[in-house]
Each structure stands twice: as C-alpha cells, then as structure tokens.
C-alpha cells in the first residue's frame, strides 16, 4: 500500500514546495521550501539577526468566548492560536498554507487515501520530558475523534477509524479511514487542532504538549502566559523566554495598546486601522495575501434561489471590485465564486465572472421577477466583512437596487448567526480561512459538510468530490476537481466575491515576522523574536 505512486501523489499534492515532505531532516524542510517560494520582499529596516530572550506579547481579538487550552477542541480562534504555542502537530502550515511535515518524519498514504501510515521523528519530547511514542499518537488520534469529546470538528474527524488504529512500531502508526472513502485532506484538518499529547493529558489540569512554549498560566478571556520549551524539536528555537497572549474585546483599544507599547504584536487588524498604523514609524505592518474568502451564501432549498436564473443574476449584479474596495478597504482581491486558488488542482481556466447588470436584469425577468424581488440577507455581528459582519451586505444591498432587487439586511448576534438556524437563512454572509479545495469543500458544500448553508447538492459534484478525496495522485485528481469547480461556478450557491488580506502589525523590534500566503505570520511562535 505504500506504493511509489501514492508517495508521489502526496508529494505533488503538498505543493509547489521545493523540498520534499519526506525529508528526514525536518527542520530544514519547511524552512527551505518557504524561502524558495516566498516572493514577498523582506522589509529592510527591520532587525535581521535572531536574538534570544524577552517576553513576546501578542494581542488577539477573540470575540466573546473565553476559549480553552484543549488541543483537540479549541473553541475559538484564540484557542487555536494558543494551541500553536502549546502543541506541535504531525503537520504544520507552510507559508503557502499547505501542510508540511512537523512531528511526523514520514507519512505514507495509499492510492485511495484510506490508509495512512505515519512515522514520528526520533527523540521527540513532551514538555514534561517524556518521549513521544506511537502510543501517544494513538491516544491523541483517538481523543481527537472521540464523539464524547464533542469536538466541533467531528464532522470531519469522524471518518478516522478510531477503533482500528494500529501501532506498527514504537514510532509508527497506521490510521485507517472508514466509510469506504479516502480522506486525502486529513493533514489540512489535523494541522490546526491535532496537537500530539501524552496519555495522561488533561486540557485543564495537565495541558502538556510538544509545542515551542509550555503553559505557565491561563486566565480565560484575559491572558495566557507561556515559557520557552528548552527541548523543542526544532533545536535552538523558540527565541523569547516567554510568550504572552492577551485577549482584547475591542479593536480600537488593541491598537492603542500596540501604539503605547503594551503589546508587541496584533494580528488580523481591521483595514481602517492600517492607515494610521502605516504612518507610524514604530510599527511594522505586515500584509499577507491569503486565500481566506468571503461570500454571500444563497440557500438553494428556498425560493428564489432554487431557480438557477436567479442565482446567476445575483452573481452578475455583484460589483465585486466595489465590495472589495468598500468592505475590505481595498485589502483583498475579487473572487470568482470558487475557492482555494492556491490549491494545485484549482481550475484557473474558468473565466472571471464580470459585473453585468443588463444580463442580471434579463435573467431576473425570465425568472418572473419584475423589479419586485425581495430577499433577506442575514449577516453576522460586527462591522468587519472578514468576520461575516455587515459591511459587505450593506454594499450589496445598494448594488442590488440597480437590478431592481430589494435586499433587507438583518444583523444577528453570534449566538444566533451560528445557532440552530444557521443553515436555514435564505441568504447570508460567510467568511472562511483559506485551505485546500478538498478540505474547504468538506466543510462548506460537499456531501460530508455539516454547515452547508447553501444546501448545494449536485449528484455529479458529490460523485466527483468522493472520487477526488480518495485519489492520491495529483494528476488524476486534477480533472476531477476542475469539473467539480465548473459545476460550482455554474450552479453553486456561493457568491464568493473576494479574498481578503490578513493584516498584522508589530512593533519594529519584533523579528521573524514577514508576509505569507497563510493567515498567521504572527502565530509562528517558533520563528518570532525580539530585538533589544
């Protein structure tokens, strides 16, 4: 089952990466590939030689939830960020937002992606000094996929055949996938919240991992303090002695804290804050062109969006460039109603859908609407488009007027937006982090999605998805994905109007921070350092 073919498939799948995923050296693998691919220029005035010591302070906005430390059930973005400090995973994100090997030394996957053989690096250690073994890996995989844990990501992880994990030797485990399908995007989903933890792990009393930092103190909703893990598997890293992650409730006060030196870094800023920050000589603004995307989701199970012509009309009446300008403050690029442009299987041959008011009007007329179509757009809380908030919807409502469509924008709070009615909105905003095609589809509009707000259910698309997710060979998978994306583009329920940049800022004394195609240059706690 560990065929050459599958190896090659996985290799190619995992990117345009220069180096090999199966590189034994580990440390060099990720870095080399990153260097060779990162075209963004390094700002010159910033310090360049890493220094040890100090306390690195990151200010995050984490909504109203306080979050937790659970490696496998991070309930907020903040919890995932803390997880990046506390836990190491089998894979880590490359700067291109593809999974690179991390704790895993070698991953073999069979041709239909139904068997994964994973070998850990040698001599790995947990924070408590214990060696990481295959038993810990099995424990972690079982905990991760445990229905009783009620992990929010269970929709995805339930495909792991947790009762039939096989320990091949002290460092090697075989993970079968059940349900007769492959799960080619396993690394994508494992990389965010799949920390490898010891068998006596407890998220509250014993949050031990193998990440660059050990927990020292955690005050939910306020701050968490970490200390350097001396035996981190990337020798010599991390650089600072301590890491502090501070929760803010308000963007404006976080910027004030950055400007007054109370924190060193702030991630995911609002676009309006860039203008004053860019002018400030003490601040280094880092703009990462991610493929995190923003959409309006049309519910295909309800009128009027059960009519193909209405969906087409809506996709044509959107002036994407204007929404990017107004709702994202110009910090983004227009989208073409399909996601994952960085995925090697992405179909670049589909022409960009252009703004066409006439065509939209005529389609609406054909569908029987004569300037009298009214729809309700439900938007999430807040004023940032990147969080699914109101601005994009408000701009759209104005644009729709020109096509004779009345869009009533209704803003609901987070608990309602993601609550029991979450898949029943007629028309709603959505905003997601970038990821591979298969992973995103699995979350958004594939047959295995549990948050299919569009109710997109196309027999041919489902078949293509099932085939693709079980096809390790990139060249064989490409045509499948291409056709699937064509279907999405022609008949799907997403108006994917734009990709947003991730905007981070740090004091100019923070080193190791550079733009990426990923969302999280500020979460790379093994790379960041402070100059004195």
């Amino acid at each position: 089952m560990t065929s050459e073919l599958s190896r090659r498939g996985f290799l190619i799948n995992s990117a345009a990466l220069g180096g090999s995923l199966l590189l034994g050296g580990g440390l060099t693998g990720g870095l080399l590939s990153a260097c060779s691919n990162n075209s963004s220029p390094e700002p010159t005035a910033l310090p360049t030689t890493p220094q040890y010591g100090g306390r690195l302070r990151l200010g995050i906005i984490d909504g109203s939830k306080t979050g937790d430390l659970d490696a496998h059930k991070p309930l907020t973005t903040g919890a995932i960020i803390r997880g990046f400090a506390l836990y190491s995973k089998l894979w880590e994100w490359s700067e291109q937002m593809t999974p690179d090997l991390a704790l895993a030394e070698e991953v073999d996957v069979n041709a239909d992606a139904s068997q994964w053989t994973i070998r850990l690096r040698q001599g790995l250690e947990f924070h408590n000094g214990k060696t990481i073994t295959a038993d810990d890996l099995i424990f972690s995989a079982r905990r991760l996929s445990d229905p009783a844990l009620a992990s929010p990501y269970l929709a995805y992880l339930k495909w792991i055949d947790r009762d039939n994990l096989v320990k091949l030797d002290e460092r090697t485990v075989r993970i079968p996938i059940k349900g007769g399908i492959g799960l080619l995007s396993l690394p994508d989903s494992w990389v965010n919240f799949g920390g490898i933890v010891p068998q006596d792990y407890h998220p509250v009393t014993n949050p031990v991992g193998a990440g660059p930092y050990k927990i020292k103190e955690f005050v939910p909703g306020q701050r968490s303090l970490f200390t350097r893990f001396e035996n981190f598997y990337k020798t010599g890293k991390p650089y600072p002695d301590e890491l502090e992650i501070i929760d803010f409730k308000d963007q404006t006060s976080r910027v004030a804290a950055l400007l007054s030196g109370q924190i060193d870094m702030a991630n995911a800023l609002d676009p309006e804050q860039l203008i004053p920050l860019k002018r400030n000589p003490k601040v280094n603004v880092v703009i990462s062109e991610t493929h995190g995307w923003n959409s309006f989701d049309m519910n295909l199970s309800q009128a009027p969006f059960n009519d193909d012509r209405v969906r087409q009309a809506f996709r044509l009446l959107v002036d994407r460039q204007e929404i990017v300008q107004r709702a994202l403050g110009g910090e983004g690029r227009v989208g073409n109603d399909i996601y994952s442009p960085l995925d090697p299987t992405f179909n670049h041959n589909i022409p960009q859908r252009e703004y066409d008011l006439e065509q939209a009007r005529s389609l609406l007329k054909q569908a029987g609407y004569d300037n009298d179509l009214k729809v309700t757009l439900t938007v999430g809380p807040g004023l940032t488009a990147v969080a699914g908030g109101s601005p994009a919807g408000l701009v759209l409502a104005e644009q729709a007027k020109k096509a004779g469509v009345t869009i009533k924008v209704t803003q609901v709070d987070a608990a309602t937006f993601g609550g029991p009615q979450r898949n029943d909105w007629q028309f709603s905003t959505n905003s997601r982090l970038g990821g591979s095609f298969l992973h995103t589809a699995a979350m958004v509009d594939s047959p295995i999605s549990s948050a299919n707000k569009t109710h997109f259910d196309n027999a041919r698309f489902s078949e293509l998805f099932r085939q693709a997710i079980s096809t390790t060979d990139l060249e064989k998978r490409k045509p499948l994905v291409h056709e699937a994306q064509q279907i999405q583009h022609a008949q799907g329920g997403l108006i994917l109007w734009g990709f947003n940049n991730t905007l981070d800022a740090a004091g100019r004394h923070v080193g190791g921070l550079a733009p990426e195609r990923s969302h999280f240059p500020t979460w790379r706690f093994d790379k960041l350092w402070l100059s004195s």
């Binding site: 937790d68 992990s151 929709a155 939910p220 929760d247 804290a257 400007l259 309602t416 993601g418």
Partner: protein
C-alpha cells in the same frame, strides 16, 4: 447617561419617607425598631434576587439560540452538539434546570462556565475584585470630592463660579460615558499626551490596587460621568438646608456662620447625600459595563457582556445575581444609615423607608 437614571428612585424614596413618616406614628417596637425592619428588608431583598434570577433564566431560554451550539460553532455536527447539550444538562426540562441551579447556588456551587468549563466562582472572583476595586476608587474620589464641592458651591450660590460649574456639570452629565472614555483615551493616552496606558491589562495575579496605572483612565471616566450628579445633589441639599427655617432662626439667634454650617447645615445635608451615594454606587456597578469594554478592563461588566453574547447562562446568572445583591445591599445600608441618622425616623421606621 445611565448614570442618573436611578435619580428618580432616590427622589421618590426621600419623598416617600417624608410623606409617610407622619402616618406611621404609634408603631413602636420593644427592640430597636429598625432591627425588625432591617430583617424584613433583607428577606424581601432575597426574594427579589430569586425573582431576578428566575427572570434572567427564563430570558435566556426564549430565543432559538442554543448555548451548546453557540460554543461548538456552526460546523459541529448535530451529534456533537447533542452530546455536549447532555453534558451541560441543557436537555433537561427548564424547571429542573432552574431548580438544580438554584439549589446548588444556595450551597455555594455556582456551576461551571459553559464556555471555559471553569467554576463560575473561580472565573468571576478576580473580576469581581477588579470591578469592586474600580468602583471603590471612584467612590473614594467622588464622595469627599462631591461633599466638599457641593458645600463650597452652595455657599457661593449663584456666583459666577457656581453658575459656570453647574452649567458645565449639566453639560458633562449629558455626554454618554463611552464618549467620555474615548475622549480621555485620545487626550491622555494616545493622540495628545501619552501619560497613561490606553488599555487596562491588569496582571491577574496581583490586586488591582497594586497596579493603579491601569485604573486611572477607567476611574476618571466614571468620575466624570457620575460626579456632576453627586455634586449638584449635595449643593441642592445644602441650599435647601441653608434656606430652612431652623437655620434662619438660628442665624437670627446670632450663631456664628461657622457653627451654623458645620453643626447644623452640613449634618442635615448629608442625609440626602447618603441616598445619592447609594444610588451612585449602583449606577457605577452598572456603568462599569461600557467602561470595561472600552478599556478591556477585566471586570464583571466586560465578562457579562461576553457571557450574554454566547449565552453562557451560569456566568450571566452569577453576575446578575451579584449585581442585584450588591445594589440591594447598598440600598439597604443607605436606608439603614438614613434611618439611624434621622431622629424623627429612628423610632418609627415605616416600610416606606424601603
């Protein structure tokens, strides 16, 4: 903004006392009369708190917003949400849930936060301390400050200083507290001067009092928002006393101005001030909400705002009960103090002192 909204309560409370005190004559108990009254008040307050907790509990159940779903997020499967719901006991009948909550709360177990799974008491203890520290610092500033300023202005009634200050206090009172907060941040922390930290990043391991630099701006905001009311009330009470007949007659008897003010006027003006301080305290307890959000001050106000947002019922309940109990306690103490300090009420406090 909200700062003055309990004024009516105060106003009518004193009016009530005045109008009722005459009619309740003849009801004198053997024990200090106020003791029985105070016990009755405490019982009534406890009942009030239970009613409030029931109302809050009912309110959290109205919308189709499932705390389990909210915590796990939109992507969680229905199965996972169901498992979590059972774990939290949310699948039980409403009355049973409430009964379990209140019977445990009575024993000091306020449950666990749905969100962070920490014991609620542990979660909010530090925040309660922080908020109380803030409220206490504000009170320490405004109570003596208002008494002095109020008396001072009353003695210079209708002078230019009095008129200017009264007018500017009316103007200050009109500014919403978030606007004051933003203005102060711009003035003292970011845009004009950078003297104080813009954000209150308290070290959770130390008392808020040990980190006064973080309390200055939030406290200042609350001082600006509440002090005008208190100053003007003291000023008004003082003027009223100065105009009262007994002062006029004392003046006619030739008592010195100093004696008049210190021995007659001020002690009598303090009584309405007590009620006003109680009122200000309860307004502060509510006013911390906005200020804590603006300054990211880790207190109960910002915790409540967050808990409401995600329907973290045990946390909402605990904070609301705490706030209600605090307000009731403060009112009780103030009423008690009023009763004890007012000779004519001391022997026959009617229920209307409530």
């Amino acid at each position: 903004m909200e700062s003055s909204s309990k004024l009516a309560g105060h106003w009518s409370a004193s009016a009530t006392q005045a109008s009722d005190s005459g009619k309740r004559a003849g009801l004198t108990l053997a024990l200090p009369a106020w003791l029985g009254w105070a016990l009755k008040r405490i019982a009534s307050s406890l009942l009030g708190i239970i009613v409030i907790s029931m109302l809050v509990f009912a309110a959290t159940q109205v919308l189709p917003s499932d705390p389990a779903r909210t915590i796990l997020g939109p992507e969680a499967t229905e199965d996972a949400v169901q498992v979590f719901r059972e774990k939290l006991g949310l699948d039980q009948p409403l009355i049973k849930q409430y009964w379990q909550w209140i019977s445990r709360a009575a024993q000091g177990d306020w449950g666990h936060s749905i969100d962070s799974n920490m014991p609620v008491t542990q979660l909010i203890a530090g925040r309660v301390n922080n908020s109380l520290a803030l409220v206490a610092s504000v009170l320490v500033l405004i109570v003596p400050g208002s008494l002095i300023a109020g008396v001072f202005l009353a003695l210079r009634r209708d002078g230019w200083l009095d008129r200017t200050l009264v007018a500017s206090m009316i103007a200050l009172k009109a500014i919403p507290s978030f606007a004051i907060a933003i203005g102060l941040v711009m003035l003292l922390a970011t845009s004009v001067f950078s003297i104080f930290p813009a954000v209150s990043l308290l070290d959770p391991n130390r008392s808020a009092f040990a980190q006064p630099q973080f309390m200055i701006l939030p406290a200042l905001t609350l001082v600006v928002a509440t002090m005008p009311y208190l100053v003007r009330l003291v000023r008004g009470a003082m003027i009223e006393v100065l105009d009262a007949e007994f002062i006029t007659s004392a003046r006619l008897r030739g008592l010195s101005k100093r004696v008049l003010i210190w021995q007659y006027a001020i002690p009598n003006a303090v009584i309405p001030a007590i009620q006003a301080i109680a009122l200000t305290t309860s307004v502060l307890l509510g006013g911390v909400l906005v200020v804590e959000v603006v300054f990211t001050y880790p207190g109960i106000g910002s915790a409540l705002n967050a808990a409401v947002d995600i329907r973290d019922i045990p946390v909402i309940q605990a904070i609301v009960v705490f706030l209600a109990a605090s307000v009731m306690t403060v009112n009780l103490i103030a009423d008690l103090a009023t009763v004890l300090l007012t000779p004519r009420l001391r022997t026959r406090p009617g229920k209307e002192a409530a």
